[in-house]
Amino acid sequence: MLKIFKYTVYDLIRNRWLIFYTGFFLLLTIALIFLSNDVSKVLISLSNITLMLTPLVGILYGVMYYYNSEDYIRFLLSQPISRTSIFSGIFGGMATSLSLSLIVGLGTPLLIRGVLFVPEFITFIIVLGMAVLLSIIFSSLAFIIALYNSNRIKGFGVAIFTWLFFAVIYDGLFLLLLLIFKDYPLENITLGLTMFNPIDLARILTLMNLDISAIMGYTGAVFKNFFGNPLGMMIILILLICWIVLPFYWMLRKVNRKDF
């Protein structure tokens, strides 16, 4: 598994797309820093962009990488290696290299800017952490999609729809639901509904750092208890980790049953 992991990482960090992706974030962060001297403003803009873009890139890149390395995977499958370790290796390698490019792209300019020594350091860690977690979650979803669809066009279609669903449609339906049932107490439902969308979870964790003053303004006791203490943050982190573990487990199940 480790060997496959290593080769995947080696393969990917020389990949043109990934270098482009890293370069994009590098340029973006540098541009934002030049545009604004205020680190917290840079972080807000970055979090807006990463929350939208990292899932998209994660899912599309994941699907693309799987389809591109289908021959390599088939070749590996013919070797005496367990399916679990082949796919864990490949998936792990891909997730790692995506995360690496994010860390380099977002991290280096801000580190040079001196983010270590400003009070926004925790926000920086959270923005970066969320970007990494979302990349991992959506690339595992990508593998599942690719495993279920051998037709590439269909696979890409499903991937784009999945991203669109989590990034836009889900929140739209959510808001619609809130508006329809606005005469009822909605705190618990609202909290519950956010759990089913990793982008929402990541967004709320960022909100708890950036907009805590606004969130604390809502009088509902459930909200205040949830957002007002570190426990809420822990719960969100645990849920995000579930969002990594469960799709990964699903992927391995599918891998072990699929007729390649």
Binding site: N48, L178, L179, A214, I215, Y218, G220, K224
Partner: protein, 417 residues
């Protein structure tokens, strides 16, 4: 004990009297050094006007000490006045009384009487300086007084409920008083003004009070400047008052469902200049206030920078910085006849082709999302969602729900310094 040949009398104390301002006119005044065994009631009663009583170190357990003549009460280090049964400690009914360097404690909560450590009733020209008041129901209570100063006191309480706690400094029907350099915490209101005119509140620090850091009711022509209000239930409430000047104050970390940095209710002709609003749930909440100037303020990372809730006209919002607030401006109803111009909005996305530091496209600070939030407060969890961006953007292109007339025609490209 009190006579002209006072054994404690020394030349150095003449200098002391000079320093603290009682001196030149009243050179005949006597200075008496007291210790904790003596009966304060009797000594105060037999003192002559303009005498000075210096309390040496020790715990003086008395209550309801009536000062009905001009006296100077000074404490040496460690002089502690403790309420005997939890009733009031000092009651001043004369002019020109100075109370300095004393520590007060032990005035208990009463639901019948507003007990306080120092009460001044109908006195003028008083000075209350360098005192420490801890765990008292009310700290300093002024009624019908004028021309007094309250300097450098530290007043702290352990308030838990609004009903069962008093104000650190409470002023009722006063004029021309100065409150400067005090530290006020753990009370109901840090400073409470009711019918107080022409007064100055300066350089105070008011924090951890459960209701307001500073509270005006029916008070006119007052100025407060360079104060800091943080972590209070709400920072400052100005209600039913006219001509209040609010300058160079800092309002920060006032969090909660009904928490405002500054609450304006039925205020006319006020000016709010050069203040800092940092991380409050609502920076300024305005209701029924007219002819108010908001200029050169900075709003940083508040939930709502300014929330207008109707009945506001002829206000001018100019040269302010709106920096990274969750929502910059919210208007409840129509905001007519108000001028918003030359502000810096960190959310502004326009451009400046002629490089005159004024954006070429107007900025519309009210978003559809804030309209939705008014209807469904729970929707706050969707803030910064991509969907909300799309909704806001489409509303910005063709406003339907948000008021068209609220906009900044001349947004600045750079922060106001």
């Amino acid at each position: 004990m009190i006579n002209n040949s006072n054994p404690y009398f020394k030349p150095i104390q003449w200098i002391l009297i000079y320093w603290f301002g009682v001196g030149p006119i009243h050179l005949h005044a006597r200075v008496t050094l007291l210790n904790a065994e003596q009966d304060l009631h009797q000594i105060v009663e037999s003192a002559q006007p303009y005498d000075s009583l210096i309390l040496s170190q020790g715990i003086y357990t008395f209550e309801n000490i009536l000062i009905d003549k001009p006296l100077t009460l000074m404490g040496q280090e460690g002089a502690l006045l403790k309420s005997l049964n939890g009733d009031e400690i000092l009651l001043v009914t004369a002019d020109s009384v100075t109370i300095q360097g004393l520590t007060f404690t032990g005035v208990k909560t009463s639901y019948i009487k507003e007990r306080s450590a120092i009460r001044i009733d109908k006195g003028k020209y008083f000075e209350i300086k360098d005192n420490v008041i801890t765990n008292c129901f009310f700290g300093i209570y002024l009624e019908h007084v004028s021309h007094g100063v309250i300097y450098n006191n530290r007043i702290s309480g352990q308030a838990t409920t609004e009903a069962g706690s008093g104000n650190a400094i409470h002023a009722w029907y006063c004029s021309n008083i100065q409150i400067k350099g005090n530290e006020l915490k753990g009370h109901r209101d840090g400073i409470y003004f009711e019918f107080v005119d022409k007064s100055l509140i300066e350089e105070n620090l008011s924090f951890n009070n459960i209701r307001y850091g500073l509270h005006f009711m029916f008070s006119n022509d007052d100025i407060y400047r360079k104060n800091t209000f943080r972590d209070n239930g709400s920072g400052v409430a100005v209600m039913f008052s006219k001509e209040i000047k609010m300058i160079e104050n800092t309002f920060s970390h006032n969090w909660g469902g009904a928490s405002y940095g500054l609450l304006l209710k039925e205020i006319n002709d006020a000016s709010i200049i050069n203040n800092q609003f940092n991380q409050n749930t609502i920076g300024i909440f305005v209701e029924g206030s007219n002819r108010i100037t908001y200029s050169n303020n900075s709003f940083r990372r508040n939930g709502w920078a300014i929330k207008f809730s109707g009945g506001c006209s002829a206000n001018e919002i100019t040269n302010n910085n709106f920096l990274n607030n969750s929502l910059d401006l919210v208007v409840g109803t129509k905001l007519s006849d108000n001028e918003i111009h030359h502000n810096y909005w960190s959310e502004y996305t326009g451009y400046d082709l002629d490089k005159n530091n004024i954006g070429d496209v107007p900025h519309y600070p009210v978003k559809l999302f804030s309209y939705i939030l008014n209807q469904v407060p729970e929707a706050i969890v969707l803030m910064r969602s991509f969907f909300v961006y799309i909704v806001n953007f489409s509303e910005k292109v063709s406003p339907v729900f948000t008021p068209k007339e609220v906009f900044d025609p001349t947004p600045l490209m750079h922060e106001v310094q």
